[in-house]
């Protein structure tokens, strides 16, 4: 791993700043949630995305609102990269009525269908069929949209991986399957649970392209995603991209992470940090100045503070909302 070797990039300065901002938003959002959670303010199971920012952002840089993504239990990063509102997100984590899901979903089900974010998912492997279905709609409606399925190394052994990818492949659907291989599924190492060396190898079973990239390197992800999204939009079918990455926090908040070697943890918090790496890349390529990035950092800081205040000040849902929105219509 290291700074991307793509030194001549055609990344625009605007896009680079957008990427930097999104990565910074994710990091700060997650650090904030970590802190808030540790104070006992936040309820529930919370799985943080910090450390994996380059994946969500490198991929979503190629998407717009007509494109869909399916996410995982570790969904905040995907939400932010897909353009969801930070205030609505934070309020959702607090279970407030102003949350993206009016407080009914929480961290594990955070979603914004209008933005094409089809939901975090509490079920590992739940996203494969859903992404395939969204791509089917795009194909039948000729919307030009693509669907991206983010999934973990643990999910790669679930049956839905096989069923979803095979179906997308036989129907040449516009899907990009993005493995976030962070080395662990809860406490279980990837190497133990998976009979393949790289998830990308499994693409061959479905006759689709598969490649493994350094998931800490936003530009490596960006480039691979560019090819895969282009292929999907051109009607040539799905691809699989495996991003080798790492989660900075525990599996969920409260996990002591005894299964991770100390050296490994440390390395990822320092020289292998995705944001530091991307920052260097942006500066070296003159895509933004230190000052520019400083402004972004400050803005992000403010955004997150505002999101917290918004969440704190928002009202809880009213009791009568307990049974609404189960159905569109239900004759009692």
């Amino acid at each position: 791993m290291g700074v991307s070797e793509v030194q001549q990039t055609n990344l625009t300065s605007e896009k680079a700043k957008w990427m930097y901002q999104k990565m910074a938003e994710i990091r700060r959002f997650e650090d904030q949630v970590h802190e808030t959670f540790s104070k006992g303010v936040l309820p529930g199971f919370v799985h943080l995305y910090a450390g994996e920012e380059a994946v969500a952002v490198g991929v979503c840089a190629h998407l717009d609102d007509k494109d869909s993504i399916t996410s995982t239990h570790r969904g905040h990063g995907h939400c932010i990269a897909k353009g969801c509102d930070l205030k609505g997100m934070m309020a959702e984590l607090y279970g407030k009525s102003t949350g993206l899901c009016r407080g009914k979903g929480g961290s594990m089900h955070i979603a914004d269908v209008e933005k094409g974010m089809l939901g975090a998912n509490g079920i590992v492997g739940g996203g494969f069929p859903l992404a395939t279905g969204a791509a089917l709609t795009a194909k039948l409606k000729k919307s030009g949209g693509v669907a991206v399925c983010f999934f973990g190394d643990g999910a790669n052994n679930h049956g839905t991986f096989h069923e979803g990818i095979n179906m997308a492949a036989i129907w040449d659907l516009p899907v990009v399957f993005v493995a976030e291989n962070n080395g662990y599924a809860e406490a279980t190492p990837f190497e133990y649970a998976s009979s393949c060396e790289n998830i990308a190898e499994r693409a061959a079973s479905y006759g689709i392209p598969g490649e493994t990239v350094d998931g800490k390197d936003a530009m490596a992800v960006y480039d691979a995603a560019e090819r895969a999204v282009a292929r999907a939009r051109a009607g040539k079918g799905p691809s699989l991209i495996e991003c080798k990455t790492y989660r900075n926090y525990g599996h969920f908040e409260g996990d002591a992470q005894t299964y991770k070697p100390e050296s490994e943890k440390k390395e990822h918090l320092t020289e292998l940090d995705a944001i530091i790496l991307f920052r260097q890349f942006v500066l070296q390529n003159g895509l933004a100045s230190e000052d520019d990035l400083h402004v972004v950092d400050e803005n992000v800081k403010k955004e997150i503070e505002e999101a917290v205040s918004f969440a704190e000040e928002s009202p809880l849902p009213e009791v009568k909302e307990l049974t609404t929105d189960v159905y569109v219509s239900y004759k009692e």
Partner: protein, 344 residues
Amino acid sequence: MGRVITFSDALNEAMKQAMRKNEDVILLGEDVAGGAEVDHLQNEDAWGGVMGVTKGLIQEFGKDRVLDTPIAEAGYVGAAVSAAATGMRPIAELMFNDFIGSCLDEVMNQGAKLRYMFGGKAKIPLTIRTMHGAGFRAAAQHSQSLYGLFTAIPGVKVVVPSTPADAKGMLIASIEDDDLTVFFEDKTLYNMKGEVDEEYYSIPIGKADIKRQGEDLTIVAIGKQVHTALEAAEQLVKKGIETEVVDPRSLSPLDEETILQSVMKTSRLIVIDEANPRCNAATDISAMVADKGFDYLDAPIKMITAPHCPVPFSPALEDVYLPTPEKVLEVVSELIDDDSSIAM
């Protein structure tokens, strides 16, 4: 205008008319075209489903709207959920309801819950058609009646029609409905004939139908068992007992009102459900009446169901597995003594 056609043809017509009306309606499932991709079959003799219920749809609507799927129930049912959430109005065929074991997550945790979990910001206009029921010598893994399992899931609507006319109208209603509906088709009813209107029409989900009027006894029966109840009712006439047969038609929502009103009139209730006896639709309906209709009741609520065992293969055993009019008569004689006055 009405003609006499089969249950199967009524379903076929419902799908055809719904697909003509709205091009967002698509059909997917295993062999629903059935060889659409085979060169020499292209516009000819494709299966149209393992029982031929979807015959002819591929010819009229083409491969984009009638999709044969791999044997991957989680895959295509999950895809249908999401296609529904993103703008289509799919009909997914789960060949046998018994195969729900391969895709329960997609129904229970995704399709049924997305709308709620997203705070109302999604809808899932998906119809899952599926075959159920014993009596076909199809043994334990192809004969179950699992509507109870789905009725238990908030976010799912459950339809179990008993006649060709209901089948057509309620399948159209299910397709038009903005919620996830599981539509049950008893495989032993496919050849049943009945009068069915030619026009496109729908029958509201959640409205029971009184298939026979009577004052002495209410039988609520589900799906094919409506006919068991009607047969028993004919025989009971000879004993001077007039039976009201209520066909709920949909189990979720359940038309509690119609059931309660019938029990108010008759004071006696039998529920027939061919599913296994525990936590099924029969217990659900009984319990509802034991609460809300307790004061109307003059006798215990009786349930006639399959026993607590899988569906056996041997005809000798399967024939005693299912409810029969004779069993109904036996139970009625427990409820109403021969010598006791009925209108007591």
